[in-house]
Structure formats: structure tokens, C-alpha cells
Symmetry: C2
């Protein structure tokens, strides 16, 4: 089988053989193009037209069109949730969650995952060609918000002739989108599963994002955002941004257990600046492989969208009013060792939902894996979500 | 009065007038030069010669030479602990702790603070001229360790004809030096006050240091460490390193309380990449003022010394054996919201000291200020240290 980019998956240099990969799930890659007559009106006041949304689907839509699940990706994720990645050849980023027999069972649900507006995997973003200039947008791309991302997704759902979604699910920035869906389109979303997320981006998280952006902009190969025009790429700055961010995805304990002060392929320290420690080697690897699959300007735009996310301010101060009269069923999930989106953020959402008399389940999962836990093998998360999804499916009249 | 660089303090552009400054404490600036016949033998096997140590002193040495206190500075600190800084014109970095009537009372103690080996405020470091080439060392400077820093300090103490110190005190990397003093020179140190520190640098902390180093090395103006030779300075990379580190000095709560999502000099977000948020403006200011007073290569060397610090490994695995038969009195201090050097690190030291039957006090101070708390106005820290210091002074036969 071939993946979204027409390449055979699992054959990249990073992925030596099929044996390491999940059995490939049948997926369909597609793009929806929205022309000048269907502009995307953005929160900033700007409009984006034309634009396209690249997406993958898995499973089949039932006749009643009542079994559609939208999976929303995080900052550096993309639409390849359960198929091999066209650039890296690696497994999709959430094959533990999405697939036959998985909590989001593709034998039962029609699963959609689209690359966000501002992204770099086929959806229109700063790398795309500006129709007026014929040149890549660069920093002429309009600044987008989580609400804009969700608006574009709603247009995609319209295009697919689906009135409402059985579920919107996502972790981290994906969880922000799930929350935004519940606020923007309360009648189009039967259930929402925001995981490891917040209703507004914290000061510390804005700070880490700002460090990443400054690292990119400090790279002389960034050229004020116009690096594509001169065939350059600010890979060093983007790698530093990724390295800094990556530390925040793991718990201190996970780092200590996984790497500690272990040395990398040597018996003793070398009294130099090579990667003596495994943690250094790991971070460098994370940084330098990331640049192969991600665009630096997209990193700027998507982190900015996260910084701007503030459902509380959007609804005038009381988060509960954002969820007034909601009929959506919510399942809020957090992880004990996640210090990027700590449980206090989840509780804040839950309190608001309770105040709005919403139908809400809340589970804090005991894990030492930090923020990344939502992407990893967390049996308690899977069993929680199976239970919630089955119950919601029953209420929706979907046969198991 | 004039300070170490012969300039009148408090007159820089950043410091508009004396009124904002602490009353100036009388300090003496000096340098000790160690010539080729007194090389510093380093942990790496290399030797450094000649070298000089720049230091400040406050107060007077008593006749018995029994009242000397060595203050050790942290990563980006220097010898200007209680006098105006010659570059920034700002107060010394620990005027709340050191001065007349302060916990380290300069009416009572002879206080010494020296710039560490590898530093950039007058002590020999990578910015210094390599005697063999006549050019700045750059990356030809030998990699140094915390133990090397302490060895150089011991040579300075010898030069001052002081046999033993009443106390060695420091926070963060300064605390590492206090611990190293107790291990390297147990008979020369009557008491030790390691604050907000650890006996070995954690995986997470190595990770943050590595991000800072990569940011510096990614700056094209770094020139492989030889930027002085071409009249360049990797200021952008160094600023990014400082920004990333600065986040780790504050607690999440402190950031939320101090900055939250407050906007900087504007009523609404601008949908752009300017510093819309106060936290962004604050971090940029921290980054761009830091480069005026600090050398990028020094940042590389000093972070590396911290990464290499591992008293446990040095003594073969059981930290308690490092403190065997110690007669030094210890006061270990940590802060509840310090996530860079959490209380678990302090407890680890305390357990080892207890196992060695050492005389040890341990106080975890309730503070929401994060790692930076040790530099700030923390009444409980001051009262704790007054008590410990007075008691130790009494035991030492020093009149109050």
C-alpha cells in the first residue's frame, strides 16, 4: 500500500524495516480546496482565500452519518494519525488510540484528521504560495487562532456533508481545538474529549513558546521569514526550539529514569562540548530530525495560536458561560506528572462545565511520563476512553 | 567611592540615580595572580597557567583570622555580591544577605567573593588571552569543573594567608561549590550553607543547559568560539539561552501571579509576533540585557562545569562517604516551589550527611518564588541563616 504522498511507508533511513511498524491501517488521503468565493474569515479580521485542507480518513461513514470522529493534532502533529508518515516513514502519531479494536475503533467509526490551518503538511500555511504575489507567504501569512483552525475544520466537515460529529478528540493543542469545537459549534458535537490541555495558555507556556520563536528568528537563515525565497532553512534555530519544547513534554522523573546521568557511548566524560550524556544526544536527535518534517514559520504561527487561546476572555470572563446550555458530553483527561498542562488546568475546565451543568467525566491519570503521556501506552487512559466512548455511542444509538 | 573597575557606581544608563540603590557598602576590589610556577592542575588533566582571580572583600579579617566567609556565586553571578555592579550599575546580587546587620554581617565577618575560573569578570576564562598564542582562548580554554573552581578559591584563600574559613555559602551553583569545599577541604571549613542546590546535576538540568549551549553555538556570530578575533558576539544565541534558563528560575505560580496573560502596553492582542504579552517583553529584556555583562563562551564553560558536577560518582557511589568524619556544620536550605533544584535534591544531601553522622540543619522554606527565591527577600531564609550563623559563630568563639 502507498501512503498520502504516494510513497511506500516504512522505508526511510530512520525506519529500517516494516517489522518495527504497526500493521498499516487502510487510510485515505485527500484535500479539500476552498476557492475565492469561500474565504476563511479569521479572528484577526483578515481573510484567507483560496485555501486547502489536507486530511486523512479511516473507516467508513455510516448511512445516518452519525459515526464521524474528528481527531485534532497537537503543535507538531499532522493528519497522519494512524498511517505511516510520508516523510519519516514512522507509525502514525496515535496508532495506540486509533485503529481496528482501538478505543477509537475504525471498524466502528469514520475517523477524520486534518492538518491545521497554518500547518506544513498540505494544508495552507506560511509555506504556501501567496496567490497575489506568486511567492511563499512567509510572514505575510495572516496570524491564525485556534478558533480559525476549528472554523476551517467545520468547513471541511460541511464539505464532507456531515452535519454533526459523534466526537472531537485531541491532546494538548488538539484538546484546545476540542474545547473550541464545543464552544463554537455546540450543536454539531455529540461528545468531546480534551486531553492534557487548558482553556487558556498559561504564562509559563507562553514563555516557552516565545523562547522557541526567538530561537528561530535568531537564526540568520530565517531571513525575516522569507527563507524559502533564498533557498535557505533556519534549521539550527528550529532545532533549538524543538529541543527546549521537548524538555517540557517529559517529566523530571521520566528524564531521570530514562536517561539520568548516563553517558552516551563512552565510559567517562570527555571534558568537552560533545554529547557526553545520553540526554544531550537524545535532545540533539529530537532537534535535528524535527527540521526534516516541519517548517519554521509554521512553528511560529501555530505556537502563536496556542498563546492567543483564551476561552475565558473570549466569553467575557466566566468560562462557564462559554458552555451555557451545552448538550455535549465531555471527558476531560489529565496526567499527574504533566507540568505543561497540569491537572489544575483540567480542574478549571471541569469546574466551569459543572457550573454550566454539563455532562462531564473527569479522570486524572497516574503517570510519570509527563505531557507526552497522552501519546504513549497508558492503559488507564485507554480503558477510560473506551468506557466513555462506548457509553456515548450507546446514547447516540450507535451499535457496538 | 569607586568600584572594582574604577567607575562610580550607580551611574549607568540602566540605573538612573543613587536613590534606587542600596546604600553602598565599602568593598575592596583586588586580583590575585598565579604565575607559571603555580599552575592550576585541572580535573581534566590539563593545567592552567598563569591565571588570575578577581575578587571583592567586605569587612575586616580579625587577628585570629577566624572570621572569614567565602560567598560563592551562581552560573551568571560574579564577585560583586554587595557592591554596585561595574557594568550595570545595579546593586550587588546579594545585598539582602551580605552587609552591615545582614545575616552575613560585614561588621562581624570578613567576606570574600571571587569570580569563578572560566568566568568573565576579571578571573581567567575563555575571554582571556592565551599566553602561548597571544589570542583569546575561546574553545582552547580547558574545560573546568566545580572542583577546579573550588581549588582556585583555595589557592586564593592561601594567598590571603587564611588557614580556614568560618563559612562557605552559596545558592545554586554556589551551593555546589559549598558542598565541594566540604568534600575537598574538610579541615578548612567550619560551616557550610548550600542553598537551592544538588550533589549532582539532574538529567533535566543538563537538558536545559544543553539547550542554552546549542542556542549559542547555533548563532553564526559564535564563529566556533572565536568571535572575539573577528569582533563579533553571539548575542542573539546567548539571549535565547538566557531566556530559556530564566523560565526555570521562576515557579509556574510566580509567572502566573506576576505576569499571567497580561498584555504589554496594549489593550488587545495584535495578531503578530511582537511582545504582546508582558511575559514575552520581560523575557526579551532579560535576554538582551544579559549579553551586555556576560560572555557566551563563559556560559558554555560554566554550564558544563555544572553538568559534570556529581559528588556521588566522585566518591565511588555512596554520597555519605564523601562526608566521612566531617566536622563541618551544615545548613541545607531548599524552597518548596524550586523545580530546578527541588527539595528532593536537598533531602538526598541531608540523608548522606545524616549517614555520615554530620552536624546538619535542614530547612525547606515555603515560597512561591521558585529557584530565584534564594536571591530574593525571603524572611524565613534570613531568620534561619541568622540562627545557624550565630550558633556556629558561638561555637567558633566569635563574639557577636
Amino acid at each position: 500500500m502507498v501512503d498520502a504522498n504516494g510513497e511506500t511507508p516504512g522505508r526511510s533511513a530512520e525506519s529500517p524495516g516494516e517489522s518495527l511498524l504497526e500493521p498499516e491501517l487502510e487510510s485515505r488521503a485527500a484535500s479539500a480546496v476552498f476557492d475565492h468565493d469561500q474565504p476563511l474569515k479569521l479572528g484577526s479580521g483578515a481573510t484567507l482565500a483560496p485555501y486547502q485542507i489536507a486530511y486523512q480518513t479511516y473507516g467508513a461513514l455510516n448511512e445516518a452519518k452519525s459515526n464521524a470522529v474528528l481527531v485534532c493534532h497537537a503543535l507538531t502533529g499532522d493528519q497522519h494519525v494512524a498511517n505511516a508518515h510520508p516523510i519519516t516513514g514512522k507509525n502514525g502519531w496515535w496508532t495506540t488510540m486509533v485503529g481496528p479494536g482501538r478505543p477509537i475503533d475504525t471498524n466502528r467509526f469514520f475517523v477524520i484528521c486534518s492538518n491545521v490551518i497554518g500547518g506544513c503538511m498540505g494544508t495552507t500555511g506560511p509555506e504556501s504560495i501567496h496567490p497575489e504575489t506568486g511567492l511563499p507567504y512567509g510572514l505575510n501569512f495572516p496570524v491564525i487562532t485556534i478558533r480559525d483552525m476549528v472554523k476551517a475544520q467545520a468547513n471541511l466537515i460541511d464539505r464532507l456533508e456531515i452535519d454533526d460529529l459523534f466526537c472531537v478528540i485531541g491532546g494538548s493543542m488538539g484538546g484546545m481545538q476540542a474545547l473550541q469545537w464545543a464552544v463554537s459549534y455546540p450543536d454539531r458535537i455529540f461528545s468531546a474529549i480534551p486531553i492534557a490541555t487548558a482553556a487558556r495558555h498559561s504564562s509559563q507556556n507562553i514563555a516557552f513558546n516565545e523562547v522557541g520563536r526567538q530561537a528561530i528568528m535568531a537564526d540568520r537563515d530565517w531571513h525575516g521569514g522569507n527563507y524559502q525565497r533564498v533557498n535557505a532553512r533556519p534549521n539550527k534555530g528550529l532545532a533549538v526550539a524543538r529541543m527546549a519544547a521537548h524538555i517540557t513534554y517529559l517529566s523530571e522523573k521520566a528524564l531521570q529514569v530514562k536517561f539520568g546521568r548516563n553517558l552516551q557511548d563512552r565510559d567517562q566524560i570527555t571534558y568537552g562540548f560533545e554529547a557526553d550524556f545520553q540526554i544531550e544526544s537524545y535532545l540533539r536527535h529530537q532537534g535535528f530530525t524535527f527540521v526534516d518534517r516541519f517548517d519554521a514559520n509554521s512553528y511560529l504561527y501555530i505556537t502563536r495560536a496556542m498563546d492567543y487561546f483564551d476561552l475565558e476572555a473570549d466569553c467575557g470572563g466566566a468560562l462557564s458561560s462559554a458552555f451555557k446550555n451545552t448538550k455535549t458530553r465531555f471527558c476531560i483527561v489529565s496526567f499527574t506528572s504533566d507540568w505543561l498542562f497540569p491537572t489544575s488546568e483540567a480542574r478549571h475546565i471541569v469546574h466551569a462545565l459543572n457550573a454550566a451543568a454539563a455532562n462531564v467525566s473527569f479522570v486524572e491519570i497516574n503517570s510519570d511520563k509527563g505531557h507526552d503521556a497522552f501519546l504513549l501506552d497508558e492503559p488507564e487512559m485507554f480503558s477510560t476512553l473506551r468506557g466513555f466512548i462506548n457509553s456515548a455511542a450507546q446514547a447516540r444509538g450507535l451499535n457496538s
